[in-house]
């Protein structure tokens, strides 16, 4: 008799535990979902208030060339920032993509043992280096070098893109390496059996089949470069104009936010305009995520 009640109690305990666990994990997920919904809502509502409250035309913000929110009359042309963000991150991705592909091919196809054992851990380690450190290196190596070699102050889109490309290289290489490593070995062996050389195998078999995954890596790198704030801000010069050369001071969306957000009053037109820049950053994040998803779907084929 006593035994059966004991059993019942312990069974009840387990069911109680089950419920506690279920509720706890569900709450955790709800926190996650609430956070992102709140974030999207607040960034969107603050970002859109530039257009609704301060009566700035959307087209004016997206295509205007003059940014002087405190001026008389104030001007909210964010094209220089948009241009700066896109040019630095796209240049960085274009620089880093072939390099990361070569590094991945080297690690997987050419020296699998050495590459996987020594090179890959080091590259993964570099992915963890804080972005301010990259910015500091850019400021103390790349900028002085450009100043000596090219006309201008050394700061600008070229310096920003170079710093970003070094920064995103480890991430892109890791994705590319995983993609190459997950390729079924039968495909490669088939190609070798037909008498193809290693290079022929790489660019006729390996490259086409892993292309969607490789592009995923490129887009992830691009997204990281696009959203990076401090490393770029340190080397780009922060002049709110579209530069006439790669070595002239420029600005990005993130650098504009970083520099001005602390000096504006919440609710002012200038503050709202900065939120609009954040909104553009957020929308671009969505675009990148959807491109990645689309590519991932393609790679399953």
């Amino acid at each position: 008799m006593a035994q059966t009640t004991d059993k019942k109690i312990s069974a009840n305990n387990h069911f109680a535990e089950e419920w506690v666990g279920r509720i706890y994990t569900t709450l955790c997920v709800l926190v996650l979902v609430t956070t992102i919904v709140a974030m999207v809502y607040f960034v969107a509502s603050r970002g859109l208030s530039t257009f609704f409250k301060n009566d700035v035309n959307v087209l004016e913000l997206l295509t205007g060339l003059k940014w002087s929110p405190e001026g008389q009359p104030p001007a909210f042309g964010a094209l220089p920032f948009i241009f700066g963000s896109f040019s630095t991150s796209i240049l960085a991705a274009l620089l880093a993509a072939p390099l990361s592909f070569c590094a991945a091919v080297f690690m997987i196809e050419i020296t699998p043992k050495f590459g996987r054992k020594y090179l890959q851990p080091v590259i993964e380690l570099l992915a963890g280096i804080p972005s301010v450190v990259y910015g500091f290196i850019g400021l103390s190596v790349i900028v002085p070098f450009f100043r000596d070699v090219f006309p201008g102050q050394g700061v600008g889109i070229a310096a920003g893109a170079l710093v970003l490309s070094i920064m995103i290289l480890p991430t892109m290489t890791t994705v590319a390496t995983d993609a190459l490593a997950s390729l079924p070995s039968g495909l490669k062996e088939g190609s070798y059996a037909l008498g193809a050389t290693r290079w022929q195998t790489i660019y006729r078999v390996v490259l086409p089949t892993t292309l969607p995954s490789l592009l995923t890596g490129v887009v992830l790198g691009l997204a990281r470069a696009f959203g990076e704030a401090l490393a770029v801000q340190m080397v780009i010069g922060n002049a709110p104009f579209i530069p006439r050369s790669l070595f002239e001071s420029a600005s990005t969306l993130t650098s504009a936010i970083t520099l001005s957000m602390g000096n504006t009053v919440s609710g002012s037109a200038h503050n709202n305009a900065l939120w609009s820049l954040a909104l553009i950053l957020m929308l671009m994040t969505f675009v990148f995520v959807f491109i990645v998803r689309w590519l991932e779907k393609r790679s399953k084929l």
């Binding site: 387990h14 535990e17 089950e18 666990g21 279920r22 706890y24 994990t25 569900t26 955790c28 997920v29 926190v31 996650l32 979902v33 992102i36 709140a38 974030m39 607040f42 960034v43 390099l99 070569c102 590094a103 080297f106 050419i110 090179l119 851990p121 080091v122 590259i123 570099l126 963890g128 280096i129 804080p130 972005s131 301010v132 450190v133 500091f136 290196i137 400021l139 103390s140 290489t173 193809a196 050389t197 290693r198 290079w199 022929q200 790489i202 990281r224 696009f226 959203g227 990076e228 704030a229 401090l230 801000q233 993130t254 970083t258 957000m261 602390g262 954040a278 957020m282 994040t285 995520v289």
Partner: protein, 296 residues
């Protein structure tokens, strides 16, 4: 038309050359930080407070702030992240809502950290009235780190052999009991090493902290360990400039004559810490795996 063999040789040479170049650049990068920074490292530099105009300032409070913020963040992130990860991996049904959560996690993980910082400024600092404080910084970093934690937990739980999970369920254990006493111990090596790597990311993050933990540090009294006192280093509601933020600040507006040296020294400290986190993560993961699975 060149012979395919010649092309192959050229291509191989190019690839090896490029890989060598990357190794050189990366090695040069690490070497540069170490050479520039290590010379400036000393016990005094690591413990003394910074000077704003004179030379000879240290990074003591910044280093402490970074570590304390890391601990605070992980205390909040780990239970939340593991909980959400368990839900996603074990409880979530294959439906639209789960797909939506997956999308949310993916979007959140690629959010620019400056936008997370702005959200922190709006919600945590102003709306919830936390002000520029360690707490606001820790919560912002939680937002930033949560998706990673969820993914790590999911990965860990996915690595558990199916038979083991099914055996536990077949013995009549409840799902929660199966997860906590059968699956989590097996998944622990992956979760622990992933968590340490995530911690390294927290340690180096700056953009999300500019407008949440703030860009200044009050005068700290390292003999006062009462968490409620405003000068106590343990007070979570005081503003705190971290090491990464400090590097950024002295580079963009540093007035001290030795600003570059301080930045170099602080960068070296950051990089060494991240390196340590990586090594510890690898070692601990391997050690726990051996311990739990009795493999050699």
């Amino acid at each position: 038309m060149m012979k395919p063999k010649t092309v192959d040789k050229i291509a191989t040479a190019v690839i090896i050359g490029v890989a060598g170049l990357i190794v050189l650049v990366l090695a040069g990068l690490l070497g540069f930080i170490m050479v520039r920074g290590l010379g400036h490292l000393s016990f005094d530099f690591l413990t003394s407070p910074p000077q704003s105009i004179r030379a000879g300032g240290g990074i003591g409070p910044q280093l402490f702030n970074s570590l304390f913020l890391l601990v605070l963040t992980m205390i909040i992130t780990v239970p939340l992240g593991i909980g959400a990860g368990i839900y996603m991996s074990e409880y979530a049904k294959a439906n639209k809502f789960t797909d939506f959560i997956r999308l949310v996690v993916e979007v959140l993980s690629s959010f620019p950290s400056i936008v997370v910082g702005l959200f922190g400024l709006l919600m945590l600092v102003n709306y919830f009235g936390l002000g520029f404080s360690l707490m606001a910084g820790a919560l912002a970093l939680t937002i930033f780190n949560l998706p990673l934690m969820v993914r790590i937990t999911e990965q860990g739980l996915k690595s558990v052999p199916r038979e083991q999970k099914e055996a536990a369920l077949a013995l009549g254990l409840t799902k929660w009991k199966t997860i906590t006493s059968i699956m989590l111990p097996i998944a622990l090596p992956i979760i622990v090493s992933g968590t340490i790597l995530a911690a390294g990311r927290v340690f180096g993050e700056a953009a999300a902290l500019l407008f949440t933990a703030g860009m200044s540090s009050p005068r700290l009294d390292f003999t006062d360990w009462n968490p409620l006192s405003p000068v106590s280093p343990l007070n979570p509601f005081r503003p705190a400039e971290t090491l990464a933020v400090h590097i950024w600040k002295i580079n963009s507006e540093g007035l001290a004559p030795d600003a570059t040296e301080i930045a170099a020294g602080a960068s070296a400290v950051l990089v060494i810490t991240v390196l340590l986190f990586n090594l510890v993560a690898r070692w601990l993961g391997r050690f726990m795996y051996r311990k739990f699975t009795a493999t050699k």
